[in-house]
Subunit: 214 residues, 4 copies
DNA sequence: GATGAATGAGGCTTCATTCAT
DNA sequence: CATGAATGAAGCCTCATTCAT
């Protein structure tokens, strides 16, 4: 989606632009982020940005894609060693903890995730989610399939429903602990990691009851 | 939250402002909504808005509160006649259908709900959700309690978790059928009501398995 | 076409804006004129201009209308005393001289006329000519009718053709003496008034031969 | 006027640049045409254009020259067979029809002619008309001389005036049928060819009365 | 209590031209 | 001779808020 120019760019320059973009879009969301600010922070002429991306939406979508790739890679590695075959739902809890930790430790990716999920502009949201969703599903789908293959998820379970619920709840778990006002019940934003872990345990349990074998 | 002036206003004038505000905030979300436009549509001086509300956020929060009240009232009435005592989860499906229908038939309340849930500005989002959440909970909490009282929800079920899941999924069910790109799995935005009803049935089933008595 | 605000404006402020607008549009034509410059020269906030006019085109059209009104008023007065009844074509020559003199002495109206007639943007040109043409015709039509009424223009002359030729040639006579490169044959831009007068005499003669009684 | 490099260019490359330039300048006029767009359409590096032409004006002037050459060649051939010696003014009508047809069938040359005649930038207009006018006159002058030689134009007619009028009216007849708002009286842009032909007949008659022998 | 004119910073985007490779 | 990345000024327009009337 970026223009060919983008790929031919000196890596150091490209990195400056990415860094500035991540910071700005993360801090203010798509609509209120300023390309002026990004250009200034990246020490790049305003017009240059438009040599690389057709418009603001395209730029945001690219950053979203990059971030989602990072998240996907990290999570793929983080959950690979877990004992899914023998303890699917325990591994799920652990995966949610890893998820929590990752976003706690990577505030920029977290902020971008928030920006992506809270975008109100139709066009921007569609572009950005189209870029991001495949990355989520690339991890989720095989994982759920694995659970079914190992006999821990019921053969007749509705996998679509499971995936849909994850797609709704994962961004929430990523963001809510750090964005005030998103979760008025658990108050995820006001608890420490240990307290949050209890929530993840409960959620895994809910999931087991709904989709797991008896 | 509105200034005292607001309440002393001629009702017809107040209604014009509310109507214009609902339309504008619904159409563009908080950040991109224009007070200029609202004043013009309401046939009211720009400055007047600031006689009634301290700022844009306060105005938005008030409209959100009003809308949530409408939704709460409607849903309370709609679900009262359902046979919760004898068929809690069937009633839940039916309630979700009513929920779907209400937002299908009331595009302005739906658009406001979307605006509220997708707002990226921290301050605005907190203000607005603080105004809205109590209305959701006012319906949800007694209902869940009722399910437990009638023995259809397990005595040891985690009611907080149940409420939290609802608070996450209800706005989604309200918005997703009409906002493109929110639900890439079920594709709620591309299905007719009958197809969506199947989703609600499945969700009730998930909920029964997680929280219901055996 | 201007917004109501425009008419309620303090006259002195309005005049400053008009003066700045005439100067800038006259100097650079519509497309290359800068609203920034106009606002600065008029000592008015950039945004204010948009309180008075919907956009750049509307602003330009208003200035064109004003200028055409000035020209119409001036010419109506200037040609009223001429002996049209007894010497139509002599009066025509004299009227063309007056026309020449007016634009020689009023460089801003001349520049605006040039800007109007040379505008390449379709939308702007249509808007602006719609505003201007009626003023030309308000003088031309009765005049030509007069010539016919007094028996100096043939009864069977094609008045439409006459009007059309005037509408084409009048702006040319207004502009060409002061804009280089428009008239490579007579070289109107390189001659003094007396030499130009010879051209007007010739043109009147052409006109007499085409449309006058024998 | 182009740099020497231009002539040494591979013809196919040169043609791509010409085609892209004609399309862009014709579509938007000189000021608003974009060299970026031209380079992209011609599949040529932006910088290359500046190897062939000193600047935008020079490029435009060259394209104008080319187009005028095409028009001149076409018209010279088209009017050669007409019976100027025996029916000068009938031939004139027919020539105007050919003129109309040519520009109806060659939208790019027409658009360029419009761009040339409506250019508001002094420098650009002078450059471009200097390039174009000789082509017009190369056809007009001998033709008018011919009319005089054959005794159909009066010996004492003012040929300069005749040429000047043509130079004003020919571009108008070329453009007005296809550019809205240029001709509010005849409404050339709203008529079909047959109706326009009536205008050309009338114009020839006007010309005959002014300059023809009795 | 109502008005609405004024503000001016800031929004995204486009452009002709240069110059190092 | 060709390339195309970089520039940065300038473009039009929008906005929430203030304040004198």
């Amino acid at each position: 989606m970026p223009k060919p120019t983008w790929d031919r760019l000196h890596p150091e320059r490209r990195d400056r632009i990415i860094a500035a973009g991540r910071a700005e879009f993360g801090a203010h969301g798509f609509s209120r982020a300023s390309l002026n600010t990004i250009a200034r922070e990246a020490k790049v002429a305003k017009g240059s940005l438009f040599q690389y991306f057709g418009d603001k939406v395209e730029f945001f979508a690219h950053l979203a894609d990059l971030s989602a790739t990072i998240v996907e890679d990290h999570m793929a590695k983080a959950i690979a060693p877990l004992p899914w075959d023998t303890d699917f739902f325990g591994s799920l809890t652990e995966a949610l903890c890893q998820w929590d930790i990752f976003f706690a430790e990577n505030p920029e990716d977290r902020a971008l995730t928030a920006a992506i999920n809270l975008e109100g502009d139709d066009q921007a949201r569609m572009a950005v989610r189209q870029a991001v969703n495949p990355h989520y599903l690339a991890v989720l789908i095989p994982l759920i399939g694995h659970g079914q293959g190992s006999g821990q998820i019921r053969a007749d379970a509705d996998l679509e429903m499971a995936a849909a619920m994850f797609l709704l709840i994962l961004p929430h778990f990523a963001i809510a602990p750090h964005v005030p006002g998103l979760d008025p019940i658990f108050g995820l934003d006001q608890r420490d990691f240990e307290a949050r872990k209890q929530v993840y345990i409960k959620f895994s349990e809910v999931f087991r009851l709904s989709f797991g074998t008896v």
